[in-house]
Every structure is written in structure tokens, then in C-alpha cells.
């Protein structure tokens, strides 16, 4: 791996870390998607086969995994809008840093709406 000299244009800080997070969440979501299409395909086998596998998604550990998955999707979605705005707005690159903090704010609000409901479903009476 060639090492970049210090003081390059966007090494470190918000620009690079949002890029890293976008990659990591993207790859995670892709591998979940492969598994999710395969497990859903079990509806074509039998109701029992599908229900048995989907039943494992309702355990507390998988419930926490789903919370993590939704967090990854929500970040990837909002940061994706930021990337589109950076690319298409004339002043996009100038405001990329501010827009990342808007993304973080929207992420917190969305997760605050989702987590109580989801964790209530996973850990509460049903």
C-alpha cells in the first residue's frame, strides 16, 4: 500500500471517514441482502421451512443484529443523498462537511424513532 504524504486534500476528517463508513455499511448491507433473498426464497419450498428459518430472526441476538442492519441502511441512505448533493450542487463540495453533520443528525432522529419500536417488538411481550 503506497503511503500518501501528510497534508493531502481530504485525508482524515469528515470527508474520508464518511467515505470509509459508506463503504463498510455498503458491503455489510450487500452480504445481508444475499442471505435475505435466499431465506425469503424458502417460501417456495414450504411454509414450515420458511417459518423455521424466519423464526431465528425473532431471537434477541438477531433483533440486535436487525437494529445494526437498519442503522447501516439509514446511514448509507442519508449519506448517499449527501453524495448526490455534493456531486450535483454547484456549492455541494463546499458544504460537504456541514452536510455530514446534517446526515448524523437525521440518523439520530430516525434511529430514535425506530429503536424503541423495534426493541419493544423484540424484547417485549408479543
Amino acid at each position: 500500500m503506497p503511503s500518501a504524504p501528510t497534508g493531502t486534500l481530504y485525508r482524515g476528517r469528515e470527508g474520508m471517514w464518511s467515505w470509509v463508513a459508506h463503504r463498510v455499511t455498503g458491503v455489510l448491507i450487500f452480504f445481508f441482502l444475499l442471505v435475505h433473498i435466499l431465506d425469503t426464497a424458502l417460501v417456495r419450498v414450504s411454509p414450515e421451512a420458511y417459518n423455521a428459518v424466519i423464526g431465528t430472526y425473532k431471537t434477541p441476538i438477531m433483533g440486535l443484529g436487525e437494529a445494526g442492519l437498519v442503522a447501516a441502511i439509514v446511514f448509507h441512505a442519508f449519506n448517499g443523498i449527501r453524495i448526490i448533493l455534493v456531486d450535483f450542487l454547484a456549492k455541494g463540495p463546499r458544504y460537504q462537511r456541514v452536510m455530514l453533520w446534517v446526515v448524523v443528525g437525521l440518523f439520530v432522529v430516525t434511529m430514535a424513532g425506530f429503536l424503541p419500536r423495534h426493541l419493544g417488538n423484540v424484547f417485549g411481550d408479543h
Binding site: 444475499l34 411454509p47 453524495i83 423484540v122
Partner: protein, 150 residues
């Protein structure tokens, strides 16, 4: 005496020559266009499957049967399947190109990626269109409520 052929000193600059088509441009546009549509499709999917009612506890064979008896959800899920898989495959292709430095490794990783994508998209599409919500011989408690009426 013949005059020697002298090349035109100012041959027209052609941007096209250096590139191998506009593939990467189309890929760049597709990531943004599909991403914008996927936000609507996936947020809707997550809201209906995880937020409404009992959330993840409501999901079973009958739940899927109920959803896919409605053509709107069939088309919703079909679009989501194709767009998300192509968007994800293109993203992972970029990651492979960035980090797999040996030519042969890069080639095989991409062959594996495209093979997985073709299998999964084909399987998913077949499942959406050949799914039978009132599965023959199934335990009545496992299928959608509208199956009893038949």
C-alpha cells in the same frame, strides 16, 4: 517527383480514443439514480415489515402470502430486488477493483461476484412470480387467512 506525405500537424483531439466506452460514467449515474429510488423502496419495506403492528414477530409464511397476493408489493419487491442487487454488485465491484491488487485474484473475485448476483436475482425473480400463497397440502394455520375461503 512525388511529394512526401506529411501528417496533418493539427489532427483533431479525440477524447474517445483514450477510453473504453462510457461504462464507468453510466455506472456512476446508475448508482445515484438507483440509490435515490432504493431509499423510497427500502424505507417503505422496513416500515411495513418492522414498524407496523408486531414488527418482526408478525413475519411468517402467511404474512408473505398476504403481501404478494397484492401486485403492488410484487412489483415493489421485484424492483427492490433488481435495483438493490445491481447497486450492491456495482459497489462491491468497485471495492474489489480498489483492494485486490493481483490481476488473477481480481478476475476471480469478480467472476464469483457476478455468478452470485445472477443466481440470486434469477432465484428471487422466480420466487416472486411462481409463489403459491395457498400452498397445496399445507397446514391451514401456516397460510394466509384468505386461503380458507377457497
Amino acid at each position: 517527383m512525388t511529394t512526401p506525405a506529411i501528417a496533418d500537424p493539427r489532427t483533431r483531439y479525440s477524447r474517445r480514443k483514450a477510453t473504453r466506452g462510457n461504462y464507468e460514467l453510466y455506472s456512476w449515474v446508475f448508482m445515484r439514480a438507483s440509490g435515490a429510488i432504493l431509499i423510497i423502496l427500502i424505507f417503505g419495506h422496513l416500515f411495513v415489515n418492522l414498524m407496523v403492528g408486531k414488527g418482526v414477530h408478525a413475519i411468517d409464511f402467511a404474512f408473505v402470502g398476504g403481501k404478494w397476493s397484492n401486485p403492488v408489493w410484487q412489483i415493489w419487491d421485484l424492483l427492490m430486488l433488481w435495483l438493490a442487487m445491481i447497486h450492491g454488485t456495482n459497489g462491491v465491484r468497485t471495492v474489489i477493483n480498489d483492494y485486490a491488487q493481483r490481476d488473477l485474484l481480481r478476475l476471480w473475485l469478480k467472476i464469483l461476484l457476478y455468478a452470485a448476483t445472477i443466481v440470486v436475482v434469477t432465484l428471487g425473480t422466480l420466487v416472486i412470480f411462481t409463489f403459491e400463497p395457498c400452498h397445496a397440502g399445507a397446514d391451514p394455520s401456516t397460510v394466509a387467512s384468505f386461503c380458507q375461503a377457497r
